[in-house]
Symmetry: C2
Subunit: 357 residues, 2 copies
């Protein structure tokens, strides 16, 4: 059976057997409206927010968590792969931080289980924030009296400024970064005009095509509370023309983390929440548009070839997953009264170029 | 007469002739509480704010106005000289954007008169935002439907997305970036306990030492409404030991802008508002601490040598110039539904490094 006919038969089965003019929604769940954990106090969240936005936690003083996971946009950086300190670039596309709490593991290869563990990585990754080690991160924080006071207030007066406490605060803030109340969620909760007809057709097609085999659950990533996470072979259909076109073979994915060859080309299923805001796409950021990505995924994962109308309907449905973003006040970052936080100024560069400040 | 004795005589004159226990404040003025211009509508300001925070206006998609003029901090970047796209660095220290409306000209060499003109520069400076030209900037904006709608709403439906309109909106936003109600302002307005005793002594010393010769007016930069701006020779005393130590000679300053040799080593007097938040200091960012900078300025400009106590008092006074920062909500940046705003993804880099996302 070719792919197109499978889609058609799925739709037919839905219509004939279930008598439905819309798909049953057992694969669909609304996004929870809170993900707070016990101990996520307002004060801890506020501290984590400052750290999240603070570029002084990078070697050059230019890169914060928000640089690659920009909360003004889709929680990513809009680049194929991220740019860290000194203009260095990494190998993978920045995943969105929005709703990242609704995952059983972090990074494309799922190499750490928690938001806390994730937050430790980029600070000391040479192509991201580029710090020599967590000791240097803590040294920067300890140089800023306002931070010491906040850490002591949140974590107690003894040995408050530690990397464990820093990432605990950052993760507490990240657990607030959720986007409920999308058109899709409102539709699910009974507001039948929240989605347009084309979005509803796209939703039906999303299920009947088989997308929900991986993209299920509240975040459309296979995750459920308490689950161990979903890793899926990508690409499954290696002779798809998309595989060579977008180099879907070079990155071995999860086996980089586990060392197990049977994990070659397995990746964590990414959330589709707000996916319209995070172009370009895939682990390598090689695909510039969502419509091409939809076409590609149907081909490489489901051996299905979609029509232009089907692609348009699926993209319309995915646009219904844009959630309500919380209002976030810009934090004030504590200062070090009249003293540089970065190391003493380097030698100034030449003055031949008059384009500077 | 050496410098120290001049300071002492000034203080003596103040005490004997004027019978004052505190300096008369003819050199001192409160910061205005608004700098809005006619036409600065809420809608225009909101558009300018989005543009100010949008890194997609840079070649790499990583550098926004806020990168070097960070509103979470002192309106600068805390670096000796700024880092733009691809890790490139410029020749000068980023001036604060806070209260930049209270200047007769912009940049260290005052090479443009307005905030609007200033905003055009960094977008196309190769070591800052690195765009090939303003046409490319406008092309990026025009690729984002949400921006087109905002521009048309603010500027009318015809030819709305132009660089002139973009910088008009950015400047309108920047005119809201003022920090009134510092301890000093409250002291001036009659709240005599707003400043501590040491800050008051510092204020008296600031005037008697001669700092107000240049650092006068509401922003402590010689500016008055309608003035043409103050340019001052720096360093004046070229045999000060500080001159060689911090390379105060290489940058010719204003003559870079005017081409007039008589402007060699002239610079625009920078504001001292929030100066405690903007280390490191001077046009070249070579001095890491404010106390050293105070010592240096006394030496190179006033031929004065200050005691440790005097330096501490002056720094204490300068800390009283930290203003009240407006609360700023993080803007939501408009997206391009499921399409990359940057150019099509470049070739992905190698995957040898597992430190990425």
């Amino acid at each position: 059976m070719n792919a197109l006919s499978r889609v058609q038969i799925n739709l037919l089965a839905c219509t004939l057997l279930l008598g439905c003019t819309q798909v049953l929604s057992q694969d669909f769940e609304p996004l929870p409206k809170s993900a707070a954990q016990q101990g996520d106090t307002d004060e801890k969240i506020a501290l984590g927010k400052k750290l999240y936005f603070d570029p002084r936690l990078s070697a050059t003083g230019t890169v914060s968590c928000n640089t690659c996971h920009n909360l003004m946009e889709g929680g990513d950086d809009g680049r194929p792969t991220s740019m860290g300190v000194d203009g260095l670039t990494g190998p993978r596309n920045a995943p969105t931080v929005w709703n990242s709490v609704f995952q059983a593991s972090q990074f494309w290869d799922g190499r750490v289980p928690t938001l806390e563990d994730q937050a430790k990585g980029p600070m000391v990754a040479d192509v991201e924030m580029g710090m020599a080690g967590h000791d240097q991160v803590i040294g920067r924080i300890q140089a800023i009296p306002g931070y010491i006071r906040k850490f002591e207030s949140v974590f107690g007066p003894s040995d408050a400024v530690t990397i464990e406490n820093a990432v605990e605060a950052i993760a507490a803030f990240e657990r607030t970064l959720i986007t409920p109340d999308s058109a899709f969620d409102r539709y699910l909760s009974g507001d039948k005009v929240a989605m347009s007809d084309v979005q509803i057709r796209g939703m039906e097609l999303f299920e009947s095509t088989g997308c929900t085999e991986c993209h299920s659950g509240p975040a459309f990533n296979g995750w459920q509370p308490g689950s161990d996470g979903e890793f899926v072979e990508f690409p499954r259909i290696t002779d798809s023309t998309f595989v060579k076109k977008y180099d879907l073979i070079s990155d071995l994915g999860r086996s980089n983390a586990t060392g197990d060859r049977s994990d070659d080309h397995y990746f964590k299923t990414p959330t589709l929440r707000n996916i319209t805001l995070t172009a370009p796409y895939l682990h390598n950021g090689r695909v510039g548009s969502l419509s091409e990505t939809v076409r590609l995924m149907a081909s490489t994962q489901l051996d299905a070839e979609l029509s232009d109308d089907e692609v348009a309907e699926l993209v319309a449905f995915l646009s219904a997953l844009e959630g309500r973003f919380p209002e976030i006040a810009l934090p004030r970052l504590p200062s070090r009264l009249g003293e540089s936080v970065l190391q003493q100024p380097e030698a100034a560069k030449g003055f031949g170029d008059a384009t500077g400040h």
